[in-house]
């Protein structure tokens, strides 16, 4: 009887081991604001991208997209990759990714408008498609949205299970006159993300990126 019980326990364990496990990989989507004077901050963004690349593991997904007039488009994706299962191939992919980003930073042009919501929608779509275990959207922007005429972005954001991290949220000239403008802008985005079910974080000190991922 004891033997039968032990065999059954072994079978149960074996079946448990064969059951599909929850994904453990990470998906990161970085939105880069290229509008106006913020385009000058792209060198800092490159540092963040390289840091993120160093932290990502095989099977993780990473995409970098620019925010311009209409950001809800695959065309705005600067570089994207889902790293291979094998560490050596993943390293090769990371090196290629870093090269693409460097090229973009050197040759990017500033955009007229800033469609952050469109970029967020594109990020949600991209990450949902990849089915990662952890989903993180990083917004490298001053968070000042400026939509061109005809662009409708009053779409509710479904951010359940997403971490949204605002990076290097610089103060505008007008913010210096009235800081409430800056605070209300940040609060508005925080509220929008949390209403969508996401978790909001803001990191302005780029020297301390330990908690980024």
């Amino acid at each position: 009887m004891k033997r039968v019980a032990s065999i059954l326990a072994g079978l149960v364990l074996a079946l448990g081991a064969c059951a599909p496990a929850a994904p453990r990989n990470t998906g990161v989507y970085l939105l880069l604001d290229t509008s106006g004077t913020y385009a000058n901050e792209l060198r800092k963004a490159e540092t963040i991208i390289l840091y993120t690349l160093a932290r990502l593991e095989p099977s993780d997904s990473f995409a970098v997209a620019r925010i311009d007039t209409g950001s809800f488009s695959e065309k705005d994706i600067v570089a994207k990759a889902t790293f291979d299962d094998r560490p050596s191939t993943a390293n090769t992919q990371k090196r290629a990714f870093a090269g693409e980003v460097r090229q973009f930073v050197e040759h990017s042009e500033s955009a007229q408008y800033t469609d952050i919501s469109g970029g967020l929608l594109q990020a949600i779509e991209f990450l949902n498609e990849k089915h990662p275990g952890r989903k993180t959207i990083m917004i490298f922007s001053d968070l000042k949205e400026d939509l061109a005429k005809g662009y409708v972005r009053d779409v509710p954001l479904d951010l359940k299970g997403f971490d949204v991290v605002a990076l290097n949220v610089t103060k505008l000239r007008t913010d210096n006159f009235d800081p409430k403008e800056y605070m209300s802008r940040v609060d508005a985005w925080k509220a929008k993300v949390e209403q969508g079910g996401g978790r909001w974080r803001m990191i302005n000190d780029l020297e301390r990126l330990d908690g980024l991922l």
Partner: protein, 473 residues
């Protein structure tokens, strides 16, 4: 409480009333209460004593079982030792005494030659001179009758004969000495041969003494003598700790082996797949190490160094040898795979360092070390050697398993003995607590008890007086 004290207008009187009432009730119920306390304490005490007795019997059974196991293990081990000693004696006899006919022949030939030489070297005494009588006759001749010439001639002849005889004697002596000189090497050969025979015989005698000693110990074990059990028990404990120490070292070796191959395994089975909550690469590395250890076990079994699997030991020699070569080949293959993985590990490490340096914005792309090949070769060497080193885990593992049985038995005996002791102490405590509870019960009843004692004493005294008066009358 207030109600109780309010039965009279004076609380002190009320309290006194209740105390007197309580004492009266307790005094009346004293006998029954004492019985109840006594029965409870005795029941608990007896229960605990019975439990202690049962545990003691269990301990005795376990000790007997442990003794049987110990004796069986000792008997088996001793049989193996005696068997090996006999094999050694057999080999010694085969090796040394196989040459005995040749030795005997050489010895006989040497002795025959010595005899022959000895025979030839016998000293032949010179014959008694025949002319002695002639000399006597001549001596009686009168010198004046011309005896002087005759004597001179005889003297000359004698001198010549003496010279010739001396020369012949010297030649014969020289020849004898030559023969005796020729005997010397033969003596040496005989001495060497006898020395060789003596050495062989001494070796066999030493082995015979060892066999005798082992047989004596074996007989002690078979008879189940306490001395043998005690020796086996202490030997088993020592073996347990020594084998545990060696196994700990082996586990360290296996851990290093694991770290050598776990990283490159990710290249083969993927770095992010999981089996349960464990990375597949780690599981695969662990499986390889376990397979190596299993192959090592089978190799040791095939070589009959260990006896963990009697089935392998009982296989026909041909199949056993074949199995030995197969396991050795698999082990070599796995060791080669490990050496390759160790090399791959170094390559991956360099690639990772280069990528890290690039992502940190360093231009060097990782430090170029000209002595890097040393670590690479060392890692490959370790990857190749460790599987073979782990093969020898089988020996301490066998000892550990065998001694574990005894050590667990001894630990079980000690535990049961401790439990029995605790139960006995608890039983005693219960009995004494019962007595104490009776005394504590009597404590508030000291007044009625004192009165009772006084009354009893008085009645005893009066009855004694009555008895005395009756006796007087």
């Amino acid at each position: 409480m207030g109600i109780l004290l309010a039965i009279t207008p004076w609380p002190a009187i009320s309290a006194l009333f209740w105390i007197v009432l309580a004492v009266a009730v307790l005094y009346l119920a004293r006998h029954t209460a004492h019985q109840a306390i006594h029965i409870t304490a005795t029941a608990l005490s007896r229960g605990l004593r019975i439990a202690a007795h049962s545990v003691g019997r269990g301990e005795a059974k376990l000790a007997a079982r442990n003794r049987e196991v110990l004796l069986a293990a000792g008997r088996e081990a001793k049989e193996r030792i005696v068997e090996r000693e006999f094999v050694r004696v057999g080999e010694s006899v085969r090796k040394d005494l196989a040459n005995y006919p040749a030795l005997h022949r050489a010895l006989s030939e040497s002795i025959a030659r010595i005899e022959e030489n000895h025979q030839n070297a016998v000293d032949v005494p010179p014959e008694a001179p025949g002319w002695v009588r002639a000399v006597e006759a001549v001596a009686e001749i009168d010198a004046r009758k011309g005896g002087t010439e005759v004597l001179e001639d005889i003297h000359k002849s004698l001198v010549r004969a003496h010279k010739e005889a001396m020369e012949a004697y010297r030649a014969a002596s020289s020849e004898r000495h030559g023969l005796l000189r020729k005997m010397m090497p033969e003596w040496r050969v005989v001495l060497e041969t006898l020395g060789y025979v003596s050495k062989s015989v001494e070796s066999i005698l030493t082995r015979a003494v060892a066999v005798d000693r082992h047989m004596q110990e074996y007989e002690d074990i078979v008879r189940g003598q306490d001395r043998a059990v005690s020796t086996l028990s202490s030997s088993s404990i020592v073996q347990f700790f020594v084998s545990a120490l060696v196994l700990t070292v082996a586990i360290g070796g296996a851990a290093i082996n694991f770290s050598l191959i776990a990283r490159p395994m990710a290249e083969m089975v993927g770095g992010t797949s999981y089996i349960g909550s464990f990375r597949t690469a780690n599981v695969a590395a662990l499986v390889i190490i376990m397979v190596e250890i299993s192959m090592g076990l089978f190799l040791m079994e095939s070589l009959r160094i260990t006896r963990l699997f009697p089935v392998i030991g009982a296989l026909p020699d041909k199949i056993r040898v074949r199995m030995m070569w197969i396991t050795f080949a698999i082990l070599t293959l796995l060791a080669s795979v490990e050496a390759g993985l160790a090399y791959m590990r170094e390559v991956l490490l360099q690639d990772e360092l280069a990528t890290g340096a690039l992502l940190r914005g360093e231009n060097g792309g990782g430090l170029q070390n000209e002595y890097l090949w040393i670590t690479t070769v060392a890692q490959m060497g370790m990857g190749f050697i460790l599987p073979f080193a782990l093969t020898f885990v089988a020996i301490p593992l066998e000892t550990f398993i065998h001694s574990l049985r005894t050590v667990l038995g001894l630990a079980g005996i000690a535990l049961l003995r401790f439990i029995a002791l605790v139960l006995r102490v608890l039983s005693s405590i219960c009995r004494h607590l019962g007595t104490l509870a009776q005394r504590l019960y009597d404590l508030p009843l000291f007044v009625p008890l004192w009165l009772e004692a006084r009354m009893k004493h008085r009645s005893d005294t009066s009855s004694d007086l009555e008895t005395a008066s009756e006796v007087r009358t």
